[in-house]
Subunit: 243 residues, 6 copies
């Protein structure tokens, strides 16, 4: 009887089915703040959408890992995610190491995302640019037939960068005007971060107002009311009928 190697992650919500879009979040709440509206729109349209947290955010000033995992599950429900997972890497230590790449690549093979959202390398937080660099290695590893890795080889089709704390060179804008309520609720689900005293410019009750202003900023450029911004590093294959 062969033993099945354990999955490299813990499931927080749903089941790890093949996904259409997967968003990598260094810490709980990063995905909601940076790309939540887009993820909700996709889920509402019936797409299988997921979020994978790489760390438990255990070094954050507020909230415990236990509290935060519950907040993640609640937000996943609000957003209509198919799956949300936790990779359990060390908060403050997200960087491109062989072990971390191995774990992330195995996760990619398990949920087989077509589109991958990753943090922007211009973000000041080392866990953010660390996740970006780590994801480049893991994406390559996941598709390598001879990699010493459980699961079938998987090739991600597109990688897009979402906005964290830096001013990015947006190449794509997504209208998130119809999902404002859900988006706000999903962010507010991370109650430990966004209530009480402000701790930093992101961990603050002002988060909704500030990030909504950002959506208006991009929305104005796109001639819609609210938009989220993404950056594609490579030229993007598109269907001209959709332009």
């Amino acid at each position: 009887m062969t033993s099945v190697p354990p999955l490299p992650f813990q499931t927080v919500h749903g089941i790890p089915i093949p996904l259409d879009w997967l968003c990598l979040a260094p810490h709980p709440d990063d995905a909601e703040i940076g790309a939540g509206g887009t993820l909700i729109r996709l889920a509402q349209a019936g797409r299988a959408v997921g979020i994978l947290e790489l760390s438990r955010g255990e070094r954050g000033t507020q909230g415990t890992p236990q509290v935060r995992v519950a907040e993640c599950a609640r937000a996943a429900q609000i957003m209509g995610l198919s799956w949300r997972g936790q990779l359990g890497l060390g908060d403050g230590e997200l960087t491109d190491t062989p072990a971390a790449a191995h774990a992330l690549a195995a996760a990619l093979r398990a949920v087989r995302p077509r589109v991958l959202l990753v943090p922007h390398h211009k973000d000041r937080h080392p866990d953010h640019f660390g996740t970006y660099h780590l994801s480049r290695r893991a994406v390559q590893l996941a598709q390598l037939r001879k990699a010493d890795l459980q699961g079938e080889p998987w090739r991600v089709s597109r990688v897009l960068l979402y906005q964290g704390n830096a001013d990015i060179q947006a190449t794509l804008l997504v209208d998130v005007g119809d999902v404002q309520q859900e988006w706000e609720a999903a962010v507010q689900a991370h109650r430990s971060q966004f209530s009480g005293e402000a701790i930093s410019e992101t961990v603050t009750p002002e988060i909704i107002e500030r990030r909504r202003a950002r959506q208006i900023y991009w929305g104005t450029l796109a001639r819609v009311r609210y938009a989220e911004a993404f950056e594609a590093e490579d030229a993007l294959l598109v269907d001209p009928l959709a332009l």
Copy 2:
């Protein structure tokens, strides 16, 4: 009885109905060479697609305006265009002047394109970067209610740059593998340019081989066989379901 001001262009093919996509070509054949495959794909999918030549190419070494307009009509048929027009500005003199902007703006109001393809400003040919700069003014003028201009105000939704003779920073790639035959036939319709002796690096019988190689170059980056490349200068509002 009020007199109707004459249209600012001559129709070479079809009728000037409202268009979905319009490609601005400094000279006959520029649109086919740079964006032909994409235009054919759109036309085959039922979209109203057009080309507007800004000059008759009368300063080219080969071909006469009469010959070239016939070639344009033939190519339009092959491509399935809804309309093809000729603005009649001076070859070698395409630049951002009030009169030229007025003529182009009136044409934009007449055919009301949603997406506008323009030459890239990095092209070495002054008519190419001149058309780019001219188009920026005309797009603005066309939407101005108080402009001294016939027709209803019209706002173009998207402007994309297509590739001429320069290496561009492509942001969008379009798979043109299924329309290779039609694309080659459309380019070859400009017989006066692409038969006989080679005159320059574009006016040459090698044109198909060289531009197909370019499609393979971009296609390899997009993991398809043949692709055309475009550059969007501003962030592009997209439907995430189409990514």
Copy 3:
């Protein structure tokens, strides 16, 4: 008795004294929307600050030149400007011509600004990038001893670009949190543009909300509440004590 050549502009507010900062506005209200908070801060600190409109905005859908000049005067008062002028060039025709450069250079000599704010060349509106290009020529002309131009040669020390409708690469941010009320009042002084029906994405009653969101966007990056963004094209000589 020698005749004094007429000044190349009309004064709308104050008197044309030597200025510390001057903002060039293609149309009435552009300066308030793009750089109003910064100008107010400077004026409140006792600096001589001015705005020069290059056109009367006579092609705008709403408002007449008479109405708009009154709105300009009212806004100037709110902002505490030392001077506001009107160059009277043609709306929709702001571009780098010898005559326009001559007029603007003479104006620069008359008010002798140390710092000059100009629109960004990435703006879609031809009057905006036209003003940018025109200003480069006028700045040079103004300092030329042998220029056929009234007034003493004058050299502008710094040129900064302010934000219009495009996403810029901000290099400088200015905290405008303390002047929100005055800024809103100055923009609202342009009542003809910002009341009634929305005409475009700038001529709209939403203007305050959208531009304030923009200030929050930049403010978040600067760790303040509201900020305006500027771009310096050349390296900027700074006093390290002020950093």
Copy 4:
């Protein structure tokens, strides 16, 4: 009797004489595909040219290290290389570590290249950008007198990036029209990769057609038939007589 420390590499072809140009290849065949024509031209002109593979490509789907080393030797002969070596680092693990930098620096000291070709950091494959970053450290280490490293200090004069799978900002183009036959033979020597079924977009029998199309793409920009593209990150000291 002093013991001589072992050389940090295995020789696959020729002898490790001082080289004029050296190309660093993450895996066997990378150098031929990206810069083969240029290397052949140099070798035909009598220059001492070499390739150093950093790994044996043992994680590739096809071919064994034994087969691939034989293919490398055969290609070296076809190209007229003076030397080809194998550093024996782990495939999939090429990254900037002290041990890897030490080995590469020692190799640089042994073959003393004047010009160094390295993979581009924009390539998606971690071994490619890993080799780029590793080479920056090794180049510095090799010239350090006090480095704990066998051999005489050596300073590489120029570093150029060659093209892998990404669209680069080419600054230099080299005409490879006269060596097409040798180039194709050298690539085809890597038979294990380029015969049989296609495994990925590089490991495919189409490789010659796709890379030749790339040479035509760059050749058209350079007004020649076939060219390879390189990027210099720093300004390049050149002899104006050679321009």
Copy 5:
């Protein structure tokens, strides 16, 4: 009685008081050469200014750690520094590791700089770009309340890059004309490096002439006689009254 953990650095000059500006130097003399004039100006104006060497430069061809620490102390005196420290990391090994980030973050907490100067990532020397990358992690770590780190959390307000051996995209220039004598004396204090035979393009008696020429280069752009150049990666919050 609780034991106080040892400070992570050795003091070379002065005492580790809270600083206004701190310059991170990979090796002794890097700060003087790249930013010495600016640091002297600040110190002369009464600001608390410091330098922290990350390594002892023990791999340099000339000078011993003992000699170089004495040179550092002497230069500190000339510059009027409040403090100069030595982190004692390995020369040639400055890179972004957890241990190094921990040490640097603790140092940042100890001297609490408002403005931090770091080497430019474009420099060829791995210790220079290594220090840049290391500083990004340490800055984040230093402000983290839950970091396993002695001292109170500290947030650096501004990070500026100073010029090493590469051509940078300067965004800020500082007039150093009034401190030429002190600057030259401070550089010359590093006698072991800048007397005798030239070892490399930086370790050479020509250093003053070459770096003064650089100051003239930037000075000419700033319309002053001598200037030092800095690059800010993010938009900089500035007081408009100081522009």
Copy 6:
């Protein structure tokens, strides 16, 4: 008997033979200051090198057209130029007009340069960026068989930008250490500009010291003593043997 149309320029030195390199100078002395060392090196090596002034510099504060043409002739002799001409366009009016392009294109046909040096478009002086833009049109016009232009069609092979008053992104550096004496003499030949009182940052007796410092700046980056910097906008076809 057919009349021969007059040449579009006046010869100041030598005869208008076919040239290898031609430098376009908006005003007398621009070529010497920006590219003089390189031109001298080429001339010393036996290449046919020329300079074409586009204006007589008649708006400069110092010097008359008569004086300046004599200075030009003297400098040409010192530099060993084969030819120096004067296009006679208006100082302060150098911009991309049909008439100016016609004149410059005819001049290009007359002296048939292989390499063309043009001012950089980042220069602040409108005559400098005007000359850049004008040259793009003239280069195209000169090669057009059907252009209404005297002389045989001529295609310039390479266009390089030389440095004026702005900080450029140098891609090529040329060692000018061996021609320092001739270069200084050639600049000093423009006595009217570089003696007496300083008028601006270029018209000053300090010019030699400031521009020599610039040569040291670039020289240090190139590991030589003095270098001039150039920027190529397109990828450059090079002989790898010359690298």
